[in-house]
Amino acid sequence: MLKYFKSNESILFFLLIILCIFLSFYNPQFYSIQNINSILRSSSTVMIVAFGMTILLTSGEVDLSVGALMSFVTVIVMDVINISGSLFLGFLAVFIFCLMIGLINGLVRTMLNVNSLIATLAMMLILQGSVYIYSMAAIYNTHLLPFFTFIGQGFVFKIPMPVIIMLFILPFFIFLLNYTKYGRYFTAIGSNPSSSSLSGINNNKFKILGFVITSLLVGVAGIILASLMDTGQQGSAKGFELIVIAAVLLGGTSFKGGSGTVIGTILGILILKVIDNGIILMRIPQEFQLVVPGVILILAVYFDTLRKEKNV
């Protein structure tokens, strides 16, 4: 059977279709606009951050601080807009903050030469702690700006806004990874850093860029989450980094760097989210929301290795 699936994407696509068919047999509601919107909406924040994580993993790095940063972003954006009454200032504050965190992650990785697993784990802890220094209490929406609510909860042509935002960002990353030299550089850096450096590529520059891009995307996702919760909530987005990383790995990106596609990542996320959705639709105990993706992830990585072995 394996020979019919030349690429990881086709396996994932097949898996996704099977899942969808199975779930629609079980519950015809699966194909309702509402349900599809619900899946897509909750996928979109994961996807937005996963685009950056795909770049990072492709270049052989990882960022564990995305969940903690996202939660921090919800607090900052709500607070700054509450105080200033200006969406622009709120967003500006978020992106300056994210830029800073991304830069620090990148510099600690490259200049101090700390393994990114450790560097960003430390950043995660720092962010998780310091968000409470910023504010002990959750920050509620007192500005009541309608556009802010629209970002997470609104619809355009019956499509949820978060999905629209994701669709705006998506082409940029497909373009970046598939059609520009930067995509090649990220692959080269992840696959063989010495070789890419010996080809005249400034590895560190691109690694820092990867961290910064990821952090900025977390800024976008965090604003959406804040709007969706209507709250700036410390401790939200718990475990978000693991979902993102699992989805990117499921999408065929190697943890050792070198290979990764945005389309694979998107399929990986959709599979995880459809499973999440299915577990609620089928009223299976929700603890399985963690178990099933874990099993699928192992299987996916196993099939990927099998396929690669056959190709060689």
Binding site: K181, T187, G190, N192, S194, S195, L198, I201
Partner: protein, 496 residues
Amino acid sequence: MSNKFESLSLQNIRKEFPGVLALDNVSLKAEAGKVHALMGENGAGKSTLIKILSGAYTKDAGNILFNGKEINITSPNDSLNYGIKVVYQEISLIPEFTVGENIFLEKFPLNRLGAIDWKKLYDDCEKLLQGIGFNLDVREKVANLSISEQQIIEIARAIFQNASVVVMDEPTSSLTPKEIDKLFQVIERLKNNDISIIYITHKIDEIFKIASDVTVLRDGKFISHRNINDTSEEILIQDMVGRKVDQKFERPLNTFSEVQMNVKNLSTLSKLDNISFKLHRGEILGFFGLMGAGRTELAKAIFGYDKILNGKIEIQGNVYEKFNTQTMVNNGIGYVTEDRKGEGIINDMNLRENMSLPSLGLFEKFLIINKVKEKKLANQYIEKFEVKTPSSERLITLLSGGNQQKILLSRWLLRELKIIILDEPTRGVDIGAKTEILKLINDLAKDGLSVILMTSEMNDLLSLSDRIIVMAGGKISKEFSKDIATQEEIFKAAAI
């Protein structure tokens, strides 16, 4: 083994992988007290045969006879039980263990209390090493030993495990001439102990020193089995390549005037100490040095990969004191590494992508890479260098070493280049590809490219270089012009 080892023969071995016939009717007989050389280009089937012997693969057809009796090898364990021991190119010792611990790893001698009997271990170890004519501090950590010493420890381990057949896979590829001599002495001792050796190498001159028989494989097929006295270098090359190979090329005495690069007082933290030299346009400047002399370090320092402590590099009027690889690539310098797997090829990329990596700007328009243009140029170089591949879209890992090396050379040649630094360009490359690469270097220099050629292959060095700089201990020890350089003088300068 209680019964004495006499011979191990492989008869009509066949092994098929999906889509590839890796071994087709191959036979070989290894006899006690003899060295049997196994030769062939990369992809000829040598490794597959060894893996069948070691139990890593199982044969599809054919027989394996031990002392004339048929045996079955289905696992590495079976193979070890018959005393078949493979010493691979990559050392598999534990660096933090001592020599004695490594040799006795599988079977530490115990005292009455069941604890390790260290005195007995080290005494036995000393005896064992002396038995093969090798003096070494058995309490030394393996990490502190040279590669050749480590290799000899691997061999000693094989003997300790009662080896009847020792398979050596290119044992001399990273050894100095002195070390090679030592290894050959050990091999003589093994012969005297009635051990059979299957010796795999690319270096033809070696087999005339130690082997009694030579078997040549090509494309998975058995080509010839000859007694060493009935063959010659030419015959063997013809057997391996399948055609006559012209190993000679013209490199007349040249004089150069235009300085392309001027390296002044270069030092690094790692090793290099006050290196100065000039490189002229169209010149092939050879570098020679034993292991640890600092050649590779020099290449990487010039290229901006390793940080320099002080010194500067002048390239056509521009002086650089702080620079990275990007600076050097932009200045028209290219570098082909000695470590093709570790620092050269990018596994996750195909030939085209590997080739175009430093030069993507050439194909860029409005940020988009023009893949059609890129493919066209890649195919041009694939054709030019006769790279054996169905297409430019093939993963580079699927190519043989020689073809990979051609791609890595193309990586630089497809762009505008002034200087190319070649570090062991023919290492691990089979003989056919090797002569092509050497010829190419010569042609490039004729076209005005400056070449820094770092090689341990004395013949290549002498025939190609216009000047030869010999390094030792991170310093330049001597410089020879082409007309006065001899092998003896170079070795003398290198051994300081």
